[in-house]
């Protein structure tokens, strides 16, 4: 399971959902919100089953909205944090019987954390980090 391929597939899923979210490269100097960028996982767990059957990692997906002092950004945050609805990042990203992935087995947004300001360059954006648990084949 290659984290780059998983990130690309999740990014394509977010874009295909047509929720107005742009996928931004992690090393971008600037963002055009609403946008997500993928941070690297802190850990990558190998050998969850015998025979290199299963690996797991948690992928942080950072959602950035407008500037922190923008009323529109705060208002939009609610819809993206919602557990359901057309803009719900969890509903868009979570794997299910109808939302399947080929680069991994399961994708599950477990929680949104660090809800607040994020600095990109000299600008503070309102955002949140969606901790997404990924499981997939080990070989």
């Amino acid at each position: 399971m290659n984290i780059n391929n998983v990130q690309e597939e999740i990014g394509a899923t977010i874009v295909a959902a047509d929720a107005g979210i742009r996928v931004t490269p992690w090393d971008a100097d600037s963002v055009n919100p609403p946008a997500v960028l993928f941070e690297l996982p802190e850990e990558y767990d190998f050998d969850l089953t015998y025979g290199r059957g299963s690996d797991e990692f948690t992928l942080p997906i950072v959602l950035l909205l407008g500037k922190t002092d923008a009323r529109s950004a705060r208002k939009a945050l609610g819809a993206y944090l919602d557990g359901s609805g057309p803009k719900s990042l969890k509903a868009i990203v979570d794997s299910s019987n109808t939302n399947t992935y080929v680069t991994c087995d399961t994708v599950k947004v477990r929680k949104a954390s660090d809800i607040g300001p994020y600095r990109v360059g000299s600008i503070l954006y309102l955002g949140a980090t969606f901790e997404t648990r990924i499981t997939g084949p080990g070989s």
């Binding site: 190998f46 050998d47 969850l48 089953t49 015998y50 290199r52 059957g53 299963s54 477990r110 499981t135």
Partner: protein, 133 residues
Amino acid sequence: MAEVHGSLTYVSLATFDISTFTDSCTGKYEGDQHESTAYGALGHEYAVGLKATSYTIGGKYTNGATATRVKVQQLVGTKVAFEYRPEGTGTGLPTETGTVLVKTFNKSSPVADIVRWTAELTVSGVMTFGTQP
């Protein structure tokens, strides 16, 4: 002498390799003991009895044609071949083979985690302890 990592373990049920969705295998090896103490003895004496072996296996529940449901759950109540290679696969490494009754199958669905399963296997007869060719 060296430690052996559990991730190398191989298990098969009904000749199908279930290792890739299995993450635990515990073997229990017992021998019956029969009291044979006579009056006047200072300690218990025992006669050797029959052997009894069982295994508890478990792991991640998987879907598809080679899934846990097909390859383990549907074998409940049947006797099938079982092989356990505690040190992994390789020439000269130990292997335990025999026939087991798939006695129970359990699966659990925690709300914030993946579905998991366990199964109890009771050995019919005795296991054969050998080495892999």
